[in-house]
């Protein structure tokens, strides 16, 4: 009976509403304690890019840090905390987890995000719409695009121990391909003129500073064309 009365009293007493499992608050950056287990290291390039984006009036804060109120430790957002003045209020998602859960989140949050693969064309289409005035962000975009292309190339290359030449077979000369040149030296005006005529070597204009133009000779003839012309001249000569 006494138990029933207590239960009834408890049911009637006003209770504080339970805190939502995750809530957004603006908290001074300096009051967020770093997580001693944080395993991510932030390069100057990353910090500069972050600064540039946060200072960008079009962007500013577009994401929140993650904070565990039970351990009073930051889980995500160490770099953001570092690049702003400690007095600056920053957006923080506040949650409540055990220390074990916190470690699991810390160990998986970024790696899970990194599991996504990038589509080069989609990213290039995206950054074509992005006006990046700052050097760091522009570099970040270039690097990301380059990384996606490199990953694509790596994927096309196949296993690392495979012959890398297979990635670009078109670079190799085909059995019939040959690139070389011959030079002809003439010592007689008539021979030279005849060769120019037969090989179809034309006059070309050469412009000098001040607008002065001189007429010179184009002296390279495609090998296949040269053979055709020599053959045609031979036939014409033979038929005459």
């Amino acid at each position: 009976m006494a138990r029933t009365e207590n239960a009834a009293k408890n049911a009637a007493a006003p209770t504080a509403p339970p805190k939502p499992p995750l809530r957004l608050e603006w908290i001074e950056a300096g009051s967020l304690t770093e997580n001693p287990m944080n395993w991510r290291r932030h390069s100057q390039e990353q910090l500069q890019s972050l600064r540039e984006l946060l200072d960008d009036p079009q962007v500013g804060w577009a994401g929140a840090c993650l904070y565990n109120e039970r351990t009073c430790r930051l889980i995500d957002g160490h770099a953001r905390r570092e690049v702003v003045d400690p007095k600056t209020p920053v957006p923080v998602l506040v949650g409540n987890w055990t220390a074990e859960a916190e470690a699991k989140i810390l160990a998986t949050l970024d790696p899970v995000g990194a599991m996504a693969t990038g589509d080069v064309a989609a990213y290039e289409a995206l950054i074509a719409q992005v006006q990046a005035d700052g050097l760091w962000v522009r570099d970040l975009l270039h690097q990301t695009a380059a990384g996606l292309v490199a990953a694509d190339v790596a994927a096309e290359e196949g296993p690392a121990d495979e012959d890398q030449a297979s990635g670009l077979p078109a670079m190799e000369c085909q059995p019939f391909e040959h690139y070389d040149y011959l030079m002809l030296m003439f010592r007689h005006e008539q021979d030279f003129q005849q060769a120019c005529e037969v090989l179809g070597i034309k006059k070309v204009e050469v412009t000098y500073p001040g607008g002065l133009k001189k007429i010179g000779l184009g002296r390279v003839v495609d090998g296949a064309k040269a053979i055709d012309r020599l053959m045609a001249a031979g036939k014409a000569g033979g038929g005459a």
């Binding site: 050097l135 380059a146 890398q164 990635g167 670009l168 391909e177 000098y208 500073p209 003839v221």
Partner: protein
């Protein structure tokens, strides 16, 4: 043929460098430096400030110059060496320099080649008189481009020329390099040029990217504290 000198932060010295060798060249400068460079030349090609790095800048030039043949000259080029004979001959005369470039453009046009340039090493003893042109290497410093079929890889802010030449070797099969002449750079001390883009991390990233993109056709040789890029394509 249009000679373009992309330049940045060197308005005070370029008159003693590439602009002295190519006084008729067009200077390609950022919008923020028009005033400084307009004191030197009225031939300015002004690019937007967001175009930075070798690849994006070279492609921007190609996209904004109508002349089918464009020759881009580094702003620190000061003179030419002729390697014909046993002693190299120093050439500083502007007319001769232009004539060397223009004749090479004509040769390339006649040969149906889209990318051309000059010997990058001024060493007469390694120059073979019986083989004045090479077809399977890369060019930088003075880069001639005919047509617009090839595009610069705009992800490369530092080492874009070798990638462009490898593209030419892949698609056009040859790059025409005149071994008789070398255009010599006199390095600037301090900032300017592409210095803002340079960092050891950026350099390493581009090397890794190039290595993955071109595999065995590009050899990256570390020697005497410098990185030498060697094309390993046989033609």
């Amino acid at each position: 043929m249009k000679i373009i000198i992309p330049t940045k932060g060197r308005a005070d010295v370029i008159r003693e460098k590439a602009l002295r060798l190519f006084p008729d060249a067009t200077l390609c400068v950022g919008a923020d430096e028009v005033e400084a460079y307009s004191r030197l030349s009225d031939r300015l090609l002004v690019h937007p400030p967001e175009v930075v790095g070798i690849g994006p800048l070279r492609q921007w030039v190609l996209d904004h110059v109508d002349d089918p043949c464009v020759v881009m000259v580094d702003d620190d080029v000061t003179h030419v060496y002729s390697q014909v004979g046993f002693h190299k001959e120093r050439i500083e005369d502007a007319d001769t320099a232009r004539a060397i470039v223009e004749r090479m453009a004509i040769l390339a046009q006649d040969a149906g080649v889209r990318v051309f340039g000059f010997n990058q090493a001024a060493r007469p003893l390694t120059y073979a008189n019986f083989r004045p042109f090479s077809l399977d290497t890369w060019v930088g410093g003075v880069v001639g481009i005919i047509g617009r079929e090839l595009r610069y890889d705009q992800r490369l802010l530092l080492r874009a020329d070798i990638d462009f030449c490898l593209q030419s070797l892949l698609h056009d099969r040859i790059v025409l390099v005149d071994g008789r002449y070398s255009f010599i750079h006199t390095r600037f001390a301090g900032a300017g040029g592409n210095a803002r883009q340079r960092s050891s991390e950026r350099h390493a990233q581009e090397m890794a990217y190039l290595r993955r993109k071109w595999g065995p056709y590009l050899d990256i040789v570390q020697a005497k504290g410098t990185t030498r890029l060697v094309v390993r394509v046989s033609r």
